[in-house]
């Protein structure tokens, strides 16, 4: 080791370009092709983070997406900070900036580390137990404390400026994982006429092959075989290769979500380039070749930086040319770790000892170690680890004689066996079964057209994986392989240690800081189901989903509950397989595209005329049109006054519209609405009230009869889709014998409502083919003719109580007709009004808004609308329910008007109502305010409310308690203005 070179732990000189990067403000050198983790290790930096709960120093445990410890914030500038990125998967580029997390003020001087000193106060279930009481302490003390002291990276504070793409794809065979099994499957599938997609989360194809220096396939070195294979696949026209792509979720019927990272590895990732792309793939067949993940050993102090999985060290060495140390000890219960030890030794690293938990191993391994001069100690364990920021020595313990021995080392590799990756397999609801031979779960029965091959199927070894991969894709290729045998291992439910168990910190879940002791404690406290143990200890619930911890946890729990591992079972895996950015999931749906916004054909005029908009369902509607600096109150008062005294114009295009046509149209209307329709004359309108089958008000609107067999139905703005569905459902399911067609025409018509005493005068000069005189065209009538030469369905209706017309024209004429009317209306001081004034005008008349004055538990009787319910009809939807005992019972909440005793008080909508303001809390709430406004016309406030037994309370006083004060109001009829409707009869 020479310290004057930039990367003192770099062994091979691969000739790739030297680049620099910054970690926690310090600049280091790395190489193209490095990950942040391999580059830091090449610099001798093991300390990469602080743990979640105890703030313990942590380094890498793994070398890939399974990594639980080395989480960093990847910083590309404002809004482009990604927290909790695994250093082991973050590809290095020139100028990369990353920072450690969960520490303050710095990684080495972290005040939160006192959590570790006081860790006896943080056992399993600590949060559940300690912070239960008192409630106020939770809000003010505990929660802020936990939030600041425990946790991962900080969420970005600025909006993410990056663009995220999404796409759909279809194929015959989707292969997840491009290790030996996946590559062999892809080669076989490429020779068929199948469309094939091969995905791998790494930047390069190869999987475990990238870490296996010593093997060869069909006489070729691994490097050569990979190059040939990649070339063959890239040339095959039926194969698509997606690298840097993680299969994050496996859904019904072979629908797989893939998250592809496009720019995170680029030094010059410009804003505007798609950062990630989410693929939604439907595949006939899915081949899962995800490999297996090595398990840590659970022993005291196993989380010190420098202690890692044996396979990780092998990967850092063979793939990145980086030694994780120069005095590397090994602790194992599986043969596979010997390969890592031998590779390190052969690369010039000193391996002082292999500590073997088993009592015996194969002679081959013994001989290979002896040939290298590596000492093996059988039936032994690591009982302690020393070092503050990185391991510098371990304590070897041999239980047979009770002796301990201190061995110097600067890294310690561990291997407790291998866990097949069954995450995606489990997402698909396929079953798993226990395999005693490998002490792990393996795939059971498939729930989809899917197979697992290679290590994720419990079939280890290079040749096995290659041949299984070929077979599953219909190939019969055989491979001649020279490989280091994968070997076998033994699982130890607990490792020997002379120390008192309660004094040990043997980590099981590194990311959530949960120990062996925590599991035993959970079981002692009565949690016997693994799902409960998981939630109590939080094991497996971190962002790594327990990739390295689940099986160890389950095996420890099985000992504690004295059940077999099969009986204990495995917790459920859920998507995503690895943490996924919200950007990838949102795709194009951000900013203006976050939600569909429907606009009417008149919307652009409103925008040009300074309308203030509000969302109504997914429509954008003009709420009011302020003049200059007017506030909403002033604008609405002015709009209302103009409408009542002269003329207002209102865009009502968002009203839902359904055309009901056919010989049985009237019969169908009779079934769908409470009102009678048979005798409604052609050219006349009626207010229709629609119930659900349970008798509650569902929707309402004016319906015009255009012909014997044709109705023009209007619905509430938000209700159109559900009313259409409701009608189609009954027509298709209950009344299929009726000869009726339903067509949604909401988008076809622009609707311009003109209200006010001058409404008729305004339109008269422009109408052709309709006699507008009051006798020929009475209130609640509809005519067809022309306005400005354009076809119109002209309704004489009113939602304001004034003389009113609704001009329906084909939608693309909407703005032109609006502008022409607005221009002509100048003569009458025409005023455009928005939804707010519309609400006030209708409330003054006591007209309800379904969904505001009703809430899904209001019947026509409750709303005072029995007049709209036919007594003669034999049947309509909801009729039977109106006779249910609880619907006809006394004491239901009924819709009434409220006049506050102080006319200047405008009640808050939603405010609760009580009969006795002096009743101690909790008070009996007898209703709530549904609508409340300032009425400029009446010079006072008005309100509507649902109140228990409200009809009988007319003239009585009720109370509305609000913070600091209680308002009183008199119950009244909800028609506040022109109760006899005389204003409709303007000559």
């Amino acid at each position: 080791m020479t310290t004057d070179q930039p990367n003192p732990y770099r062994l091979s000189d691969s000739g790739t370009r030297q680049i620099s990067f910054t970690f926690d403000g310090k600049t280091y050198q790395g190489r193209e092709g490095d990950t942040l983790a391999s580059a830091l290790l090449a610099n001798g930096v093991h300390l990469m983070g602080r743990s979640f709960k105890y703030h313990r120093p942590r380094g890498v445990l793994g070398s890939g997406s399974e990594e639980p410890n080395a989480l960093v914030s990847f910083d590309r500038g404002a809004g482009r900070v990604t927290p909790n990125v695994r250093a082991t998967t973050l590809e290095l580029y020139d100028g990369l900036v990353a920072n450690s997390q969960n520490r303050w003020p710095s990684l080495k001087r972290d005040v939160g580390a006192f959590n570790n000193t006081f860790s006896m106060f943080f056992p399993a279930g600590f949060y559940n137990k300690t912070f239960m009481w008192p409630r106020s302490f939770w809000d003010k003390v505990y929660e802020p404390f936990i939030r600041s002291m425990a946790g991962l990276g900080l969420a970005p504070t600025k909006p993410d400026p990056d663009v995220y793409a999404s796409t759909y794809g279809h194929c015959d065979t989707l292969i997840v994982g491009a290790g030996p099994a996946g590559l062999a499957a892809a080669l076989a599938a490429s020779k068929t006429d199948n469309r094939v997609i091969l995905v791998d989360e790494n930047p390069a194809l190869g999987g475990s092959l990238l870490s296996s220096e010593k093997a060869s396939i069909d006489g070729a070195s691994i490097t050569d075989w990979l190059a040939q294979t990649e070339q063959a696949l890239r040339q095959a026209k039926n194969v698509t290769i997606l690298t840097r792509t993680t299969a994050i979720g496996y859904y019904h019927d072979n629908f797989i979500a893939l998250a592809e990272r496009l720019t995170d590895h680029l030094a010059d990732a410009e804003i505007g380039q798609s950062r990630e792309r989410l693929h939604r793939i439907r595949s006939d067949k899915v081949i899962l070749a995800q490999g297996a993940i090595e398990r840590p050993l659970v022993f005291h102090g196993n989380d010190l930086p420098g202690i890692m999985l044996a396979s990780a060290a092998q990967t850092f060495l063979n793939r990145y040319g980086t030694a994780v140390g120069y005095e590397v000890a090994v602790f194992t219960s599986h043969d596979s770790a010997y390969g890592a030890a031998f590779d390190l030794h052969d690369a010039g690293v000193h391996v002082p000892v292999i500590i073997e938990a088993r009592t015996d191993i194969d002679a081959d391994l013994r001989d290979s170690a002896a040939a290298r001069g590596i000492e093996i100690v059988l039936a032994a364990a690591v009982s302690n680890c020393f070092g503050k920021w990185r391991i510098n020595a371990l304590e070897l313990y041999t239980p047979i004689n009770g002796k301990t021995r201190r061995i110097k080392c600067d890294a310690l590799l561990m291997c407790g066996g291998w866990t097949p990756s069954l995450h995606l397999w489990s997402h698909s609801k396929s079953s798993i079964k226990w395999d005693d031979k490998i002490d792990a779960f393996v795939p059971g029965k498939a729930n989809e057209n899917a197979s697992c091959v290679g290590a994720c199927n419990g079939d280890f070894g290079l040749q096995t994986a290659l041949e299984a991969g070929g077979r599953v894709a219909g190939g019969e290729a055989t491979y001649t392989v020279s490989e280091v045998p994968f070997g076998r291992g033994e699982t130890f439910r607990s490792l020997p240690n002379y120390k008192d168990v309660s004094k040990q910190k043997a980590f099981v879940d590194f990311q959530n800081d949960a120990t062996e002791k925590d599991i035993s404690l959970a079981v002692r406290e009565g949690f016997s189901s693994i799902e409960h143990v998981k939630r109590y200890t939080t094991i497996g619930m971190a962002t790594d989903q327990g990739k390295t911890s689940n099986l160890n946890a389950m095996q420890i729990a099985s000992v504690a509950v004295k059940k077999s591992v099969q009986e204990v079972g495995l917790t459920t895996f859920r998507p995503p397989y690895t943490p996924t950015t919200f950007g990838a999931l949102a795709g194009y749906r951000s900013g203006d595209l976050f939600e569909v916004e429907r606009k009417t054909s008149i919307d652009s005029w409103a925008a040009e005329n300074d309308a203030v908009f509000e969302p109504v369902s997914i429509w954008r509607r003009a709420r009011y049109f302020p003049n200059g600096s007017e506030d909403m109150h002033a604008a609405v008062a002015r709009e209302c006054k103009a409408t009542r005294t002269s003329l207002g114009i209102f865009d009502a295009s968002t009203l839902g519209k359904i055309e009901i046509v056919g010989p049985d149209a009237a019969k169908f209307m009779n079934l769908m609405y409470t009102n009678p329709w048979a005798k409604l004359a052609v050219g006349r309108c009626r207010y229709g009230l629609m119930l659900r089958e349970d008798g509650y008000i569902y929707d309402d609107g004016v319906v015009g009869r255009m012909a014997e067999d044709r109705f023009h139905v209007t619905t509430t703005t938000g209700g159109a889709p559900r009313v259409f569905r409701h009608m189609e459902d009954y027509l298709q399911s209950e009344f299929p014998e009726l000869d009726v067609w339903l067509t949604s025409t909401t988008e076809q018509w622009a609707v311009i409502a003109l209200n006010g005493p001058n409404a008729r005068k305004l339109i008269a000069p422009f109408i052709d083919g309709i006699d507008l005189s009051p006798d020929a065209f009475p209130h609640m009538a509809v005519r067809e003719g022309k306005i400005f030469g354009i076809e119109t369905r002209l309704f004489r209706v009113s939602f304001s109580g004034e003389l009113g017309f609704e001009v329906n024209v084909p939608a693309h004429y909407g703005r032109a007709v609006w502008e022409a009317l607005f221009e002509a209306g100048a003569e009458y001081g025409i005023v455009p009004y928005g939804t707010e004034a519309m609400h006030v005008l209708r409330a003054e008349k006591g007209f309800i808004i379904v969904g505001q004055d009703t809430d899904g538990t209001v019947t026509p009787q409750d709303a005072g609308m029995s007049w709209a319910v036919s007594k003669k009809k034999k049947d309509f939807v909801g009729k039977r329910s109106l006779m249910r005992s609880d619907i006809v019972a006394n004491g239901r909440r009924q819709l009434v008007g409220l006049l506050t005793v102080d006319p200047n008080v405008v009640l808050e909508e939603g405010a609760q109502i009580v009969a006795d303001p002096d009743q101690p809390i909790p008070m009996d709430m007898i209703g709530h305010v549904t609508s409340s406004y300032w009425s400029e016309t009446l010079g006072r406030s008005i309100a509507m409310a649902v109140v228990k037994g409200g009809f009988d309370l007319e003239g009585k006083t009720i109370f509305v308690p609000m913070p600091g004060t209680t308002h009183s109001a008199k119950v009244c009829n909800p028609v506040f203005y022109d109760p006899d409707g005389e204003r409709l009869n303007v000559g």
Binding site: H252, D694, E728, D729, D875, R884
Partner: protein, 102 residues
């Protein structure tokens, strides 16, 4: 995301084109006036919520706009068959013959 076979379109289409519409084969009582509140409530509110073979309605909302029936195993979440509105509930033998989800 399911692939659902619409019996009217006679095609497998993705779930986003469909809406779920509750349990199937619940007939609206013809003699509503004559039945008790309890019987009416049974029709209105009581559903099987079955674990296992379940007959249910789906609506091809963003397709042919037709309601149809389906048999689905609520344990494996697999569609076993779909059939047109008005056709009788399949017999256990028919369902068994159509199953490939055990």
């Amino acid at each position: 995301m399911f692939l659902i076979h619409c019996p009217y379109c006679d095609e497998d289409r993705p779930e986003i084109e469909f809406s779920y519409a509750g349990e199937a084969h619940i007939a609206r009582p013809q003699n509503a006036d004559a039945i008790s509140d309890a019987e009416w409530s049974e029709y209105l509110f009581i559903r099987e919520n079955k674990r296992g073979i379940h007959c249910e309605r789906w609506w091809h909302t963003n397709g042919c706009n037709r309601f149809f029936n389906a048999v689905r195993n609520t344990v494996t979440d697999k569609f076993i068959m779909t059939y047109e509105m008005g056709e009788p509930r399949p017999t256990p033998e028919e369902i068994e013959a159509a199953r490939d989800d055990d």
